[in-house]
């Protein structure tokens, strides 16, 4: 059982580190993890849930705004991008945040093609992140089920 735990823990560490290395996560995510403790054991999960819900909602808004037959209200798109940028930045969703910066520029330039492309990318990215984090949480769960503790992972 211990060997299993150790193995899982190693997997978990490696996986987590890779997420940072691949640019999925940044130090804000680390901060988020620091805020989780016995008093709020599900904090990270909770905030990330909120974030992903946010993503779905905002992407929907943006898609609708971009789908207008006739003139597109770029300011409306931009408002959603701003929100998304805020959320992604606060949870450490680095790639999503990066995309939002580009996206915002396209909005300001009223660049329809650019906006549509960014929107697609944002959709892909957030789902990818969702998957990654899902896997990470699953690993945590397995560790716990195997009787171990989820290790603190030091980045750099």
């Amino acid at each position: 059982m211990d060997a299993l735990v150790a193995q899982l823990q190693m997997q978990y560490r490696n996986y987590t580190v890779s997420l940072y290395q691949q640019g999925f996560l940044d130090d804000q995510f680390t901060e988020l993890k620091k805020l989780q403790d016995d008093a709020s054991p599900d904090f990270v999960a909770e905030v990330l849930s909120l974030f992903f819900e946010d993503c779905v909602k905002l992407i929907g808004n943006m898609a609708r705004a971009l789908d207008q037959t006739g003139t597109v209200d770029f300011s409306q798109v931009g408002a959603s991008v701003h929100q998304l940028k805020g959320s992604s930045s606060s949870v450490g969703a680095k790639r999503v945040k990066g995309l939002c910066i580009t996206f915002k520029e396209y909005c300001e330039a009223n660049n329809y093609e650019g906006c549509v492309r960014c929107l697609q990318q944002v959709d892909i990215e957030f789902k990818a992140l969702q998957t990654k984090l899902q896997d990470m949480f699953n690993l945590e769960k397995q560790i716990i089920q195997a009787g171990g503790k989820v290790p603190q992972v030091d980045i750099n």
């Binding site: 849930s49 909120l50 898609a63 789908d67 990318q121 990215e125 990818a128 699953n138």
Partner: protein
């Protein structure tokens, strides 16, 4: 502002400040707000959060003494962060601005508008740990006199027993006579130590009938919603009148108007009358609304005549606390319409007082001085009472702690705070449990420190009060609150009011963001083994389903990919495949372990994925499953 009494009475404020410092956090982004809340909780502050600036304004106006500091995003698209700033300033509350913009102009704008600090998102814990200093700065007089000595923070020469400090401040008041709680006096005292204050003594402003009329005229011209102190000040154009003077008067005026509005709507039992009307009464006097005997028509002329003034009984003053009120209930006095039952805007409020006042001599108008807002159990508004049917007597609630009405406010306000804090708790159950955890045997302050966090995995909470299943109905709370009766007798602390219950109920039932939080907690982020009841509203991919597609084909990317896939995602894919060996092994394990798990993943996610697969290059909206 709080007087020294209240500072010393509030536990957690003097001994352990900044622990328990009461922060109102406003941000329309739920993710950011939740994180902010947690950061603030980590600093051991007491947090009330809301996504709506409007709600925040309401809370500030209704319970101006319930917060020490406001922290708010200023770029909320539907709401105005600057308006919140204005209100906070009106109440002399420090307001910290949060923004994603760090450019010079934005920061300058914030500071010019009066923000005491401007933080750039994302905010760090370190920054938030220091925000308490803004609270001290605003109340430096009180802190110097009370907290500093107890913590030995002053040079020994300045140690005066707090009694003499108090005496010094009282001496400043001597001109007030009975009124020992004028707001202007507090500003005096809170500015400097005694020796310096004489150099910088603010002129005390007396709101005479004329001045008040000018004020009202200004407000009416501007429109109550747009009537901000600065503009009113400019409009009135009175030499020597400061923005602060106008701000505090405005606050009181709003409260008065609110009461008027409610007076039209509700019939109050005479019991619930007592001295609470006094705050109302001053305004009413200024307004010249004294013609009780002629009951029903209130023409604008009668409203503003001086002739019908009566002298206000001074003893009622001291216990009054005026608070700001929600401007949405503004009814310009000049346009008072007759309500269906009675045109008298006070409804039945004033009838007992009427009787009293008729015995009082009519004397020439004396300038009225409004008591400063301070903690007192008298505040508030009758609406909650009417609604709840709590017909208890408010007469001199300082003495009658036994009345459930006084305990009730306390409970509800804290519940309001508690329930707004239950971001981490799970569902409606926890709202109630939050309630039930309200302590009866500890001072509410003390317990607030420990019960502001609700571990999501435990319901009910450990401090469960003994009534674990409470309904959200008034009766449940009624029961609950009577048992609070014997609690805490800190007068200064009980600054809550029945309407909180009303608000609380409202919040419980209707407040969107709250519900969101409820549902939030029911959704685990994923198949995490935390003992949360897992619900079905999770927007996550079905782990099993996608895994079965094979880890090899770039994992979950494939359903989403279409011919428009960018390089970016291909990179991801490439990287992801490198992970395969590890993922596979963990997948295998997971599949073994996971079979018995209830499927926590949303079908929606699958739907979306499927849709994406199917729709090649279709419209943008359709692509996103809309």
């Amino acid at each position: 502002m709080e007087n020294m009494e209240s500072v010393s009475n509030e536990e957690g404020r003097t001994d352990q400040f900044p622990v328990g410092m009461r922060v109102l956090a406003v941000d329309d982004n739920p993710t950011c707000l939740r994180k902010l809340e947690e950061l603030l909780l980590r600093c051991k502050y007491h947090v009330t959060k809301t996504m709506e600036s409007k709600k925040a304004l309401e809370m500030l106006r209704e319970k101006s003494n319930m917060f020490d500091l406001v922290i708010s995003d200023v770029e909320m698209p539907d709401t105005d962060g600057f308006k919140l700033l204005e209100i906070g300033l009106e109440m002399d509350l420090p307001v910290i601005m949060l923004s994603a913009h760090s450019d010079y102009d934005s920061v300058m704008k914030g500071i010019i508008h009066g923000a005491c600090d401007y933080l750039v998102k994302p905010v760090s814990l370190k920054e938030l740990r220091n925000i308490w200093q803004h609270v001290v700065k605003k109340n430096i007089g009180s802190y110097k006199k009370i907290i500093a000595p107890s913590r030995h923070l002053l040079p020994t020469s300045e140690y005066a027993p707090s009694g003499s400090g108090k005496r010094k401040e009282k001496a400043d008041d001597s001109g007030d006579g009975d009124d020992d709680s004028d707001r202007e006096e507090d500003e005096d005292g809170s500015e400097q130590d005694g020796e310096e204050s004489s150099n910088r003594k603010k002129r005390r402003v007396v709101w005479s009938q004329e001045l008040h009329q000018k004020f009202v005229h200004a407000v009416q011209q501007l429109g109550l919603d747009k009537a901000v102190p600065k503009k009113i000040l400019d409009y009135m154009n009175i030499e020597g009148l400061t923005r602060e003077n106008v701000a505090s008067h405005l606050q009181k005026y709003r409260l008065y108007l609110k009461k008027l509005d409610e007076g039209q709507q509700h019939n109050m039992s005479q019991d619930a009358f007592g001295s609470r009307d006094s705050s109302y009464f001053h305004m009413a006097q200024l307004e010249g609304l004294r013609d009780y005997s002629s009951t029903r028509q209130l023409s604008s002329s009668s409203l503003l005549t001086r002739s019908s003034l009566t002298k206000f009984h001074p003893s009622v003053y001291s216990s009054v606390n005026l608070q700001g009120s929600n401007s949405s209930s503004f009814i310009p006095p000049g346009h008072h319409q007759s309500s269906s039952s009675s045109a008298n805007p006070f409804g039945t409020y004033h009838s007992p007082l009427l009787a009293r006042s008729q015995n009082v001599n009519l004397s020439p108008l004396e300038p009225l001085q409004f008591p400063r807002s301070k903690c007192s159990p008298f505040m508030g508004d009758f609406k909650g009472i009417a609604d709840r049917g709590i017909g208890s007597s408010f007469l001199d609630s300082r003495m009658s702690f036994g009345s459930s009405s006084t305990s009730l406010p306390c409970a509800t306000s804290n519940n309001l705070m508690l329930q707004e804090n239950f971001g981490v708790s799970d569902g409606n159950q926890s709202c109630l449990n939050g309630l039930s955890s309200f302590p009866s045997h500890h001072s509410w302050q003390g317990n607030l420190k420990t019960t502001t966090r609700f571990p999501s995995h435990s319901l009910p909470l450990n401090h469960a009060f003994g009534q674990d299943q409470m309904t959200c109905g008034g009766t449940g709370l009624g029961d609950y609150n009577t048992s609070l009766v014997s609690a805490d007798s800190h007068v200064g602390v009980l600054q809550c009011e029945p309407p909180f219950l009303g608000d609380f109920m409202q919040n419980m039932n209707t407040h969107k963001w709250e519900e969101q939080n409820c549902t939030m907690m029911n959704n685990t982020f994923g198949n995490v083994d935390y003992p949360l009841p897992v619900d079905n509203n999770i927007v996550f991919r079905d782990n099993n389903a996608t895994r079965s597609k094979g880890v090899d084909d770039s994992l979950m990317m494939s359903p989403i990919e279409d011919s428009a896939t960018t390089l970016n995602s291909r990179e991801c894919v490439g990287n992801v495949t490198m992970m395969d060996p590890e993922m596979r092994s963990s997948t295998k394990l997971e599949n073994d372990l996971v079979d018995n798990q209830h499927d926590v993943f949303d079908d929606i996610m699958n739907e979306m994925l499927k849709q994406d697969e199917n729709n090649g290059m279709v419209s943008v909206a359709a692509r996103f499953g809309l």
